[in-house]
């Protein structure tokens, strides 16, 4: 398993989760956890995913997710989980 964190931030609209999840399913990326809130009209989602099984390299996934984001007016980032683990866990 190779865990990564996806963050989606942007103005709320219909189908954000659907779009992101469709892309992940098409890319064979498994979703392990999702949490989502709306703060002041802004959509804010975090996902923990497993990128071990995808045939795409990390760079491609990152670029394509950013493009999905642009198409729905959100900023989507994907980062390997290690950076959060290292910073917040001893």
């Amino acid at each position: 398993m190779k865990k990564a964190i996806i963050t989606v931030v942007g103005r709320d609209c219909v189908g954000i989760i659907a779009k992101v999840c469709t892309y992940l399913a098409d890319s064979n990326i498994n979703i392990l956890d999702i949490s989502q809130t709306i703060v002041g009209g802004y959509f804010n989602m975090m996902m923990v995913v497993d990128v071990a099984e995808t045939a795409k390299n990390f760079d491609t996934v990152s670029t394509e997710l950013a493009e999905v984001g642009t198409s729905i007016g959100c900023v989507i980032r994907i980062q390997l989980e290690d950076i959060f683990d290292m910073m917040h866990r001893i």
Partner: protein, 454 residues
């Protein structure tokens, strides 16, 4: 499981507070390139650097994308060229040929700086050391990406005052050779006492002879993150202030450790050290001066500045050493003037003087850094300033450095523009009284009594 709050905190640091990995620096030993034939030597140097560092820039960028954190600079440090070129170089111009080869190679592999056009003198200079030092003005004028440094003293051996005198002249000549660009050559030239062998930060990086064949050193930075964290503890006690700095330094350094390990794996080069320095840039919110202000000073330079900086430097180290087993380089707070908007503001407000900066260097990680002085400052005055700074390093068993820029054709009240990461600097007044009789004495200052620890 990582919480939403933690994810937000990390990304906030990167996006809003300028947290970045300032540099991945590959240290490369050129000892096995040595040849008495200059052409062969240059070919060997080129081959070795390209072989080891050909993928450095692409790897750095890839790591940046994986973790979503900018890896700002990818750089190379090499064995001091005074050693590497000793057998082949008979003249100053021979050394300049090596500098030009290094510059071409740096451009070929795509790194923005290559450090190690250096001589490590402490007690005495070899013929090659002298030739290299005298070649620096020409080498820095003819190259773009080569950085130079000269160590002139140490706690163990004292200060070579002959080298100090030469470096005063070398800095002046370097300034004159690059006077069309506000004497920018001097921004790539550092004079050290107790220079570390594993420093990843330019312009003083070189790959010491105590190091392995190749090594990855990483410098992290995040003055903006510390500043932001301190905003939440305004008016609190020193204990809480120190705890906050330590925790923040820990988090920043852990990112450096992660990136260093990953770069080491990907490049197949051993991991050396993480340098946990707070290195400012001219960008707003990326300033060590602003941290000092947040601690409670109107401007850096006000009474209390040395104490505040001592506290900051110590807490950064305490937090950082917990985060990585191999901490090295300069590690601490940098106080360059031109690269820190808050420092520039303090100078312009009349709060920060050269003398106060000298006091601050007693308790921070480097020295008089990126300070523009009037273009008519004499070589002996520059040597006097260097000698003072080296004495601080020698007696306090710490690294000190001098990077002064006598801006030819400009005086106090004017401004030097360097551009990019190097920023701009108001020209600061220098004490005009004479020290030439002191500087022209020959020989060296003996090692201090506390160096005898055997």
């Amino acid at each position: 499981m990582i919480s939403r709050k933690e994810i937000l905190e990390t990304n906030q640091m990167i996006e809003k507070e300028n947290l970045d990995v300032r540099t991945i620096t590959m240290g490369i030993s050129l000892l096995d390139c040595i040849d008495s034939d200059l052409t062969k030597l240059c070919a060997n140097i080129h081959r070795k650097i390209v072989n080891l560092a050909g993928n450095l820039v692409a790897t750095g960028d890839e790591i940046g994308r994986e973790y979503g954190i900018p890896v700002v600079n990818k750089r190379i440090s090499v064995t001091p060229i005074a050693i590497v070129g000793a057998a082949a170089c008979k003249t100053e111009d021979d050394f300049v040929v090596i500098a030009e080869e290094l510059d071409r190679t740096a451009k070929e592999v795509g790194v923005n700086f290559l450090g190690g056009y250096s001589a490590v003198v402490a007690k005495g200079m070899t013929t090659a050391d002298k030739l290299l030092m005298r070649s620096i003005p020409k080498a820095l004028a003819k190259t773009e990406r080569v950085c130079s440094s000269v160590n002139v003293g140490s706690t163990r051996t004292g200060i070579d005052m002959d080298a100090v005198r030469i470096m005063g002249e070398v800095i002046r000549r370097t300034a004159e050779n690059t006077k069309d660009a506000d004497s920018i050559g001097c921004a790539k030239l550092v004079v050290f006492c107790n220079a570390p062998d594993d420093n990843p930060f330019m312009a003083g990086a070189f790959h010491g002879v105590t190091e392995a064949d190749a090594v990855i050193n990483v410098g992290v930075s995040g003055p903006g993150v510390v500043k932001k964290a301190l905003e939440s503890v305004r008016g609190e006690s020193f204990e809480i202030l120190c705890e906050t700095i330590k925790k923040t330094a820990f988090k920043i350094t852990r990112v450096g450790q992660l990136v260093a390990k990953r770069a080491s794996e990907m490049l197949g080069v051993p991991f050396g050290i993480v340098d946990l320095s707070l290195a400012p840039t001219p960008a707003v919110g990326d300033s060590v001066a602003e941290i000092l202000q947040e601690i409670g000073l109107e401007y850096p330079g006000a009474p209390g500045t040395t104490a505040a900086l001592a506290l900051l430097n110590d807490q950064v180290k305490k937090g950082g050493v917990m985060a990585s087993s191999y901490v090295g380089g300069l590690s601490g707070a940098f106080i360059p003037v031109s690269e820190d908007q808050g420092m520039i503001d303090a100078v312009n407000a009349g709060c920060l003087t050269l003398e106060k900066l000298e006091a601050m260097t007693c308790v921070c990680s480097v020295g008089l850094d990126m300070i523009a002085i009037p273009g008519d400052t004499s070589a002996s005055t520059i040597s006097g300033i260097i000698a003072d700074e080296m004495a601080i390093g020698m007696v306090n068993q710490k690294t000190t450095a001098v990077r002064l820029i006598p801006v030819i054709g400009k005086g106090v009240g004017e401004q030097a523009e360097f551009g990019g990461l190097l920023g701009y600097a108001p020209i600061m007044p220098v004490n005009r009284f004479d020290c030439s009789a002191f500087v022209s004495r020959e020989g060296r200052i003996p090692a201090p009594i506390h160096s005898f620890k055997n």
